[in-house]
Symmetry: C2
Subunit: 309 residues, 2 copies
């Protein structure tokens, strides 16, 4: 009873910030993301009748309990997990990690869950993990426990875009996303943000459907700044940006004015994802690598969802 | 018919962003600022019957027209003006500049205007210039053309605070405040910002009255982030911060966690004003000067309003 799964990091173009229900990890607003190809987590789960306790960290044990409840058994598991990217630098490792754990643990238990149910289950472990389950572009809807999961709205091969992952710092966040999210409602701008999301999701889906890169990028950048504006105005204020984050943002905007078109987005951390078209990938990578304070640039592209290896 | 005036730079603790009337420079929200002692503009105006045209730049000529209308004469003027700080680095030189011009031009014309009328007149040249006229802490109220001026709410010597002016860059702003302000209303957060201002002004006035430095600083920092959050979410987004702006903000917050208490505010530009108590001034200045990217730190304090020299 052993299985290994890979789940990708997902990057939100319309972001999730604030929970409607913290225990069930139900989001206050819908979100829309895209999976990467290279960056992700590989996890092996083995249910072993000889074990008397799980060999896994606490957050994983909590999730294994959920799988045991569905499988209706009481076996303990050995979990091995590995990110293929630097840990704790704000690259949403909990999303790919919990998605990989969900797929590996249920497959090893011989549970053949539908994508929709896998996504819902991953959500219970880490909200945005639900978006690393389905293929390509995923929409995660608000709703109750049954209705809130992510589904694929465009496949990975629908549109060949490139994502440059700009790693700036190994510095750990002083405030975790989970802690920060609890205070989202204290921003005077929070309600206006949540109210505007449905129209933004409709608009960005149209941009993707039409492969309108400029429109996609514009909406994505705006939503990133919108979420960070809410964070900046929470109590206490959350300033996730580093000096280098602003340097990359300003550089991307300046290069764009000069005709080299790309768009940035920043998760709840300091690192930057830069979206571009294939023809500009090499040039942009070189430019980003030359920027002061940039530690590493990983080249990636739109990818499929979690899969068994 | 010649007079020389000095007007100080003013720093807004509750900031002004967005106009109710662009021609009359009526603000969408009230604001509250404090004058500095050292930083400012010295301007000499001489009305000379031998001149056939003003010797002054276009924006000043427009303002001289207003003074000529009040003075009911048609003399031309020679204007000499000098900032005692680096120009065009986002230190609100138009505020001190237009306030000094207003006082010098009216005095040279032998018009003895009340502070209130000087402030209103300065407002017509550059909105926030009205706050560089009265003494110390000034409140600039919204209202119609007659009612919208700044008045002193606490004198300069009421509270001995220090202001460290952190100069980061000579880079000119890509988008002027005047141009940026016109788009303020496109932020989804603009209405919520404007609606929350009256309560913030009441609260910060109480903090000053009680000389509660922590409360003053907290409200000031929050309002700064609030205004920049509106700018970040305008269309097109306005990112006035430089990497170094964020470095100073993060440093101030970190030193505060370590017990060295100061608060930052950033105008519509990249430079940072750091407020502190006299006992911490020397230590903070030294620390700020050691920060990467800091070009210069000017030590200043709460000052009086525009005055004739």
């Amino acid at each position: 009873m052993k299985a290994t799964a890979f789940a990708p990091v997902n990057v939100a173009a319309i972001k999730y910030w604030g929970k409607a229900d913290a225990d069930l990890r139900l989001p206050a607003n819908s979100s829309l993301s895209v999976n990467l190809t290279n960056l992700g987590t590989t996890t092996t789960v083995e249910w072993d009748k000889n074990l008397t306790a799980d060999i896994a960290d606490n957050r994983m044990v909590e999730h294994l309990d959920r799988v045991r409840e569905i499988a209706k058994f009481n076996l303990k598991a050995r979990v091995e997990t590995k990110n293929n990217f630097p840990a704790s630098v704000g690259l949403s490792s909990s999303a790919s990690g919990m998605a990989a754990l969900t797929l590996a643990a249920t497959a090893a238990a011989n549970l053949k869950l539908k994508t929709k149910d896998l996504s819902r289950l991953a959500r219970l472990a880490s909200g945005s993990a639900c978006r690393s389950i389905p293929d390509g572009w995923a929409e995660w809807a608000t709703g109750n426990d049954q209705a809130s999961y992510a589904k694929s709205i465009f496949p990975a091969d629908f549109w060949d875009l490139r994502v440059l992952v700009v790693i700036l710092s190994q510095e750990k966040k002083k405030v975790s996303s989970t802690a920060g999210q609890k205070m989202a409602f204290t921003s005077p701008f929070y309600k206006a943000r949540v109210a505007a999301i449905p129209a933004k999701i409709t608009k960005i889906k149209q941009a993707i459907a039409k492969k309108n890169f400029s429109l996609l990028g514009q909406i994505m950048e705006e939503d990133c700044l919108n979420m960070h504006a809410v964070m900046l105005t929470q109590r206490p204020p959350l300033v996730y940006w580093l000096p280098e984050t602003v340097r990359v943002m300003q550089a991307v905007r300046q290069w764009r004015r000069q005709g080299l078109e790309s768009y940035f987005t920043v998760n709840t951390g300091q690192n930057v994802f830069v979206f571009c078209r294939p023809r500009d990938e090499v040039r942009l990578t070189a430019r980003l690598r030359r920027l002061e304070g940039v530690k590493e640039v990983r080249r990636d592209q739109i990818g499929s969802g979690a899969k068994l290896l």
